[in-house]
């Protein structure tokens, strides 16, 4: 089981010691890339060479495309990072460090400065790599650097310092003021000012209050919260404890985490146990009269539970259906009591803000969106992974500088999808959009929780819109009619279009329905469901029209619309295409141009791949 993946790993503190340290990235992406067998190999190698080293599993540093990652830190030297490590390279890495006292030039990616240590010559610093250069790491600062299962590691990097500062020298009102000053806004996508939310909960009457962490990261294509929970779970706990203090002595907190993240849940459990043992949780925290504890609630598979009122309903054992606001959770939340609900990333920022001051945090970012934002950069981009940039960084910089451009050099950029099922597509013309709450909305998408899926010219825009609408339609809880029925009718129209049965007037009908669903749905899910459709019609109307009028899919994705033909001028009559066809639809005689029978063709693309002369399209 993944949840038990780290059980037999001897966990050692990574505080500076005289021993060499080997870090291995063991978050979900590392494990999926084979980090587990690699760890066994490292252990064997260490045993074989009779080395005295510490092996430390870490969270995600963000370079998912380079996993599995292994770092070697020799005493007194900088930390050297190796990417895509395999059994073969491992031996050479060990030889270089432990026999020759150098680093393995051929496989090293970068080096990370360590305090009071010497750098290696001829190896780029991590901060100078294109992938990291434009990044500012605040909430992901510790991810990949520390052992997430070690509270000592967390403490050695300013952990729980903010909590101590808050409990010993601040009043709840001062904490709220500081958060307000930082300009921090809800990182789950809502963008509601966190300070204001805390202030409202604080002012709500009653002695019983709750703090809830929304870790139900459901947007497909988004994994920012997973990375933080897996890589730095204590930061989220510290944020919650500070929130509990600020809203007026809440005694109980809940973390609502989706069950698809078994490793995150495991790390949280361990973190909660350790925090209790150190009296950061429990009765009379750090000798004060504050008492607070946290319980984890696992989701059971319902996307709508990411919506705060639906989440609360689910938390209380009900069907996860949203309720109309007001009452807001700040007035009536868990068990009808005032509750503050914050997203993982929001809470992860809190400790840094309280420690360094609201003004410091507000010095990053754009005019209306302060601080940094994490993004899960995926799709047809070269460097996919988790990044953190100051709010307002242009989309172009994110995709082409940090992301390294398109994965297939010959296939150009078409669009970037931001904000998942509630977001939209931004085309080439919008690449200079500063990515913050306001500007992305003006461009027709939303910043959302932080998923950026890059699409190239081989992707189909209509298919993408259909994909997202199918998702929201599946996940619609069914409570209100506009969302339940409206999204179904819209999906039917889109499906028809991708099957080549589109009609004139379909686009106008889609826009009309979109506006209706948007303005009449009960919660954010329905209110945002038409966004992927609206934004793509706005920027890619001609691609929809190609599907409807010409029955043609420019991205060659929609199966029913693909018609493979042999271009006579380009065909060399070599016959390579004939034997690869599984349905016998390609006919060819020696010296003759091949022919494809479209009535039996199953659109498997085998002939296109087989043709060396690009004569079949």
């Amino acid at each position: 089981m993944l949840t038990e993946a780290l059980e037999d790993v001897s966990v050692a503190s990574s505080k500076l010691t005289d021993l060499p340290i080997i870090h291995i990235g063991m978050a979900t992406c590392g494990l999926a890339s084979g980090a587990r067998p690699l760890l066994e190999l490292i252990k064997k190698e260490v045993q074989k060479r009779q080395l005295n080293v510490r092996i430390i599993p870490t969270g995600c540093i963000g370079m998912c495309h380079n996993e599995p990652l292994v770092d070697v830190t020799m005493p007194g030297r900088y930390r050297v990072s190796y990417r895509n490590v395999k059994a073969m390279t491992l031996t050479q890495i060990f030889d270089s460090h432990f026999t020759k006292n150098e680093f393995a030039k051929k496989y090293a990616t970068c080096q990370i400065p360590m305090e009071g240590a010497e750098p290696y010559e001829g190896l780029i610093l991590m901060a100078d790599m294109p992938f990291f250069k434009g990044q500012v790491k605040i909430v992901t600062k510790r991810c990949g650097m520390i052992d997430p299962l070690s509270i000592e590691d967390y403490l050695s990097m300013d952990g729980y310092k903010a909590l101590k500062k808050v409990l010993t020298s601040m009043t709840p009102a001062q904490v709220v003021d500081e958060v307000t000053k930082s300009g921090l806004r809800g990182r789950g996508g809502g963008g509601f000012p966190t300070g204001l939310k805390w202030g409202l909960t604080q002012k709500s009457p009653g002695p019983e209050k709750y703090v809830v962490c929304n870790a139900d990261e459901g947007d497909p294509g988004a994994f920012m919260d997973r990375s933080v929970l897996e890589g730095d779970p204590h930061a989220v706990l510290e944020g919650m404890i500070i929130a509990a203090f600020a809203v007026g002595n809440a005694r109980q907190g809940y973390i609502y985490c989706r069950a698809e993240y078994p490793l995150a849940i495991r790390h949280l459990r361990k973190a909660i146990d350790d925090a209790r043992a150190h009296n950061f949780l429990g009765e009379n925290i750090l000798g004060t009269d504050m008492s607070f504890d946290i319980e984890i609630k696992e989701g059971a598979g319902a996307y709508v539970c990411g919506e705060e009122t639906a989440l609360l309903a689910s938390l209380m054992g009900e069907r996860g259906m949203p309720w109309p606001k007001p009452p807001f959770p700040a007035q009536k939340g868990v068990w009808g009591k005032p509750s503050v609900i914050n997203n993982v990333e929001t809470l992860g920022n809190i400790g840094h803000i309280l420690l360094n001051g609201g003004d410091w945090y507000a010095s990053y970012g754009s005019e209306k969106t302060k601080g940094t934002k994490t993004f899960a950069l995926t799709g047809s981009v070269k460097n996919s992974g988790l990044i953190e940039v100051p709010a307002g960084t242009p989309l172009r910089e994110i995709i082409f500088s940090i992301g390294g451009g398109m994965v297939e050099k010959k296939i150009p950029f078409k669009a970037a999808q931001l904000g998942g099922p509630s977001g939209g597509c931004i085309p080439v013309d919008g690449l200079d959009t500063p990515v913050d709450f306001e500007n992305v909305v003006a461009a027709g998408a939303i910043m959302g929780s932080g998923g950026i899926v890059v699409m190239d010219e081989a992707a189909c825009i209509v298919d993408t819109a259909k994909f997202f609408l199918k998702f929201t339609q599946d996940e619609s809880c069914g409570e209100c009619t506009p969302c339940r029925v409206g999204s179904k009718i819209m999906l039917d129209i889109l499906t028809r279009i991708t099957e080549g049965k589109g009609q004139e007037g379909d686009l106008d009908e889609l826009v009309r329905l979109s506006m209706y669903v948007k303005s009449n749905s009960l919660c954010g899910l329905g209110g945002a469901a038409p966004n992927p459709v609206l934004s793509t019609i706005r920027y890619f109307r001609e691609e929809y029209e190609a599907h409807i009028r010409d029955k043609r899919c420019p991205g060659t994705v929609c199966n029913e619309l693909i018609k493979y033909v042999v271009i006579e001028e380009d065909c060399t009559t070599c016959g390579l295409c004939e034997p690869v066809c599984p349905s016998g639809s390609v006919t060819w005689e020696k010296g003759e141009v091949a022919h494809i029978d479209l009535t039996t063709c199953i659109r498997c693309k085998a002939c296109v791949d087989a043709c060396k002369f690009r004569a079949i399209i």
């Binding site: 089981m1 992406c29 988004a222 698809e260 989701g299 319902a302 054992g317 995926t378």
Partner: protein
């Protein structure tokens, strides 16, 4: 789809699970999760018993059970093939993986193979988009899959089972 055998449900076990959560009505989702952990699914009998113990009407119990996609009312295979069909996996060909499993094991999404070895379960997003397309089986994540790799994974799991049975 194969005919499925239902398990025997023991009232003591159910009471014990409810007790763990102090028989709180609000913990019903967690109780059902524990029940599912024990039996592999939520048998109809167990649902009724939980309702009796927590004093929740049958209608509401059924409402909760059917609302969440991760509760199952039928037994499931030994290996749940969770094939990710999230955005990143979708644009990198997750559909082909699902098709391959359907073709190879003759099951549709949500169904079990006759020998109760496999269940096909497309899931929305497993959060490892950089390794798309991916799948998860028994908690282990497999990244950068192709239709061929999917087949060899299935073969490997089949072999492991045969091997286990032989040693037992």
């Amino acid at each position: 789809m194969a005919e499925t055998k239902h398990v025997e449900v023991d009232l003591d076990d159910i009471e014990k699970i409810c007790e763990e959560f102090e028989n709180r009505e609000g913990a019903v989702v967690q109780v059902l999760q524990k029940v599912q952990e024990k039996y592999g699914y939520v048998p109809a009998e167990a649902l009724e018993l939980v309702g009796d113990v927590l004093e929740i009407p049958k209608s509401k119990m059924y409402g909760v059970l059917t609302f969440y996609s991760q509760f199952y009312q039928e037994p499931r295979g030994k290996f749940i093939l969770k094939v990710c069909v999230g955005t990143a996996c979708h644009v990198r060909g997750a559909g082909l993986l699902v098709d391959k499993v359907r073709e190879e094991l003759h099951i549709e999404p949500g169904e079990n193979t006759e020998d109760m070895l496999f269940t096909l379960e497309p899931v929305a997003c497993l959060g490892s988009c950089a390794l798309a397309p991916m799948a998860m089986v028994s908690g282990t994540a497999y990244g950068k899959l192709s239709a061929d790799k999917m087949v060899s994974l299935i073969r490997q799991l089949e072999e492991e089972t045969v091997h286990e049975e032989e040693t037992v």
